[in-house]
C-alpha cells in the first residue's frame, strides 16, 4: 500500500520519490487542497479497489496515516 500511495503521489504531484516520506503532510508539505485529495482517492480506488469517501480522510494529515487507514479498510 505504501508503494502504491507513493507512486500515485509522484505521478499526481510530479514529485521525486525522495520528497515523499511517511511523515509528509498533504497540506503543509505538498500544498494539496480538497480537490487534490479527491484526485488522489480516485487514483487509489482505481488501483486498489478500496473506496474512501473524502470525508473519511478529513482527519488524515500525513502519508503514513493514509497508509494505515487504507490498510485497515483493505483488511
Amino acid at each position: 500500500m505504501q508503494e502504491i500511495i507513493i507512486r500515485n503521489l509522484m505521478s499526481q504531484l510530479d514529485l521525486d520519490r525522495e520528497a515523499i516520506t511517511m511523515e509528509s503532510r498533504f497540506v503543509e508539505d505538498f500544498s494539496m487542497d480538497s480537490l487534490d485529495m479527491v484526485e488522489m482517492l480516485i487514483d487509489l480506488e482505481k488501483e486498489t479497489g478500496v473506496k474512501v469517501p473524502v470525508e473519511e480522510v478529513a482527519d488524515i494529515h500525513t502519508v503514513g496515516e493514509l497508509v494505515k487507514h487504507l490498510e485497515g479498510k483493505q483488511a
Binding site: S11, Q12, D33, S34, L35, V38, E39, I42, D43, V54
Partner: protein
C-alpha cells in the same frame, strides 16, 4: 437511427457584462488566485438585460446565416436549457418565433450540462424519423439568475451564454457514435430545486428561491469517471480512424487535467475556454465549438469528440467530422 448530417453553421452569443474573479472578492470570501488554481476560471459573462431566449435566438440566427440555410429549409428546432425564461412556450418555440420560421417541429431538452449532446443526437435522430433537411440545435443558459451569490463554493463557477449549430443532411455522415447515459443522482450532488407555490387549496408551498446546489467532491468524482468512460467508448466506436481532438463540457479545468493525466492524453488535444466564460452548463460545448472554429483550432477534416456530463446525473458524447474550413481561410 440518425440522419446523415453535417454541422453547417455554428455561432455563439454572450452577454456583454464581464465579471472578473476580483469582483467576486467583494461578494464572498474568495480570491482570484484561489479560483484560478481550483477551476481555471478567470472571468465569466453575466446577463444584464439579455435573456436566455434572446441569446438563443441570436446564436441560432447567426448559425443559420453562416450555414447558408434558408429559413424554409429548417424543419426542426431543438433547444436545451436548465435556466430558460419561460416554462411555456418552450425556448425552441420562442426561437422559432424570433427567427420568423413558420412551420417546423420545435421542442426543448433538459439534460443538465449534457443537454447539448442530448439535443444534437435527438435532432439528428428526428431528422431521420421526420424526413427533415435541416435543424437548429441551440443551447442557452442564464445561470447567474439561479446562482446563490452568497455561496462562495458555487457562485464562482458559473457563467451565461448561448451557442447554436445548424445540422444539415449531407452525403457523408459526419455525426457518429452517439453515447447517452444517465444514472440516478441519489445523493443530490447537483440540483436546482423548484419549490411549489402555495395555492388556495394547498397553502403549504414554499417561497420561490431557486439556486444551484452542488457537492463539489462528488461532482468531481462523477465527472472524471464519466468523461473518461465516454472518451473510451467513443474511441472504441471510431475504430481505425480515432478522434484527434476533444471538446469537453467546460465545467472545471481540473476535471480535464485529471482525465488527461489518467488516460495519458495530450492536453493540446482538448479545447479549453473555461477561463473566459466559466461553466455555462449546456451552452458550454457549442460555445467552445464556435470558439474552436473561430480561433483556427478546428479545421475541415478534423475528427472531434464532444463530451458532456452534468446534473441528472447525465453524460454523453458523439464524434463529429468537421467539414467547415478554418475561419481565416474563408
Amino acid at each position: 437511427m440518425m440522419a446523415p448530417v453535417e454541422i453547417a453553421g455554428v455561432a455563439k452569443c454572450l452577454p456583454e457584462t464581464i465579471v472578473t474573479n476580483a469582483q467576486l472578492e467583494s461578494l464572498v470570501d474568495t480570491s482570484d488566485e484561489w479560483i484560478k488554481k481550483r477551476t481555471g476560471i478567470h472571468t465569466r459573462r453575466v446577463v444584464d438585460g439579455e435573456t436566455a431566449t434572446g441569446m438563443a435566438a441570436q446564436a441560432a440566427r447567426e448559425a443559420l446565416e453562416m450555414s447558408g440555410t434558408r429559413k424554409e429549409e429548417v424543419g426542426l428546432i431543438v433547444a436545451c436549457t436548465i435556466t430558460g425564461d419561460d416554462l411555456t412556450p418552450s425556448m425552441a418555440g420562442s426561437v422559432q418565433k424570433a427567427l420568423g420560421i413558420q412551420n417546423c417541429a420545435a421542442f426543448d431538452v433538459s439534460a443538465g450540462c449534457t443537454g447539448f449532446v442530448y439535443a444534437l443526437v435527438a435532432a439528428a435522430s428526428m431528422m431521420e424519423t421526420l424526413g427533415k433537411r435541416a435543424a437548429i440545435v441551440v443551447a442557452s443558459e442564464a445561470m447567474s439568475r439561479y446562482t446563490d451569490w452568497t455561496d462562495r463554493s458555487t457562485c464562482v463557477l458559473f457563467g451565461d451564454g448561448a451557442g447554436a449549430v445548424v445540422l444539415r443532411r449531407s452525403e457523408t455522415p459526419c455525426l457518429h457514435f452517439p453515447v447517452l447515459n444517465a444514472e440516478p443522482d441519489t445523493d443530490e450532488v447537483i440540483v436546482l430545486k423548484k419549490e411549489a407555490r402555495s395555492t388556495p387549496f394547498s397553502p403549504n408551498g414554499g417561497e420561490t428561491k431557486q439556486f444551484i446546489r452542488m457537492k463539489g467532491s462528488d461532482v468531481f468524482t462523477y465527472a472524471v469517471r464519466v468523461l473518461e468512460d465516454t472518451l473510451k467508448e467513443l474511441r472504441a466506436g471510431c475504430g481505425a480512424r480515432p478522434y484527434t481532438k476533444v471538446i469537453p463540457h467546460q465545467a472545471n479545468e481540473k476535471i480535464i487535467d485529471y482525465v488527461v493525466r489518467s488516460m495519458g492524453l495530450d492536453k493540446e488535444q482538448f479545447f479549453i475556454n473555461i477561463s473566459n466564460y466559466a461553466n455555462t452548463s449546456s451552452a458550454s460545448i457549442p460555445i467552445a465549438l464556435c470558439d474552436a472554429w473561430e480561433s483556427g483550432w478546428l479545421d475541415a477534416g478534423d475528427r472531434v469528440a464532444l463530451v458532456g456530463f452534468g446534473s441528472g446525473l447525465t453524460s454523453g458524447g458523439a464524434v463529429i467530422d468537421w467539414t467547415i474550413p478554418k475561419k481565416k481561410e474563408n
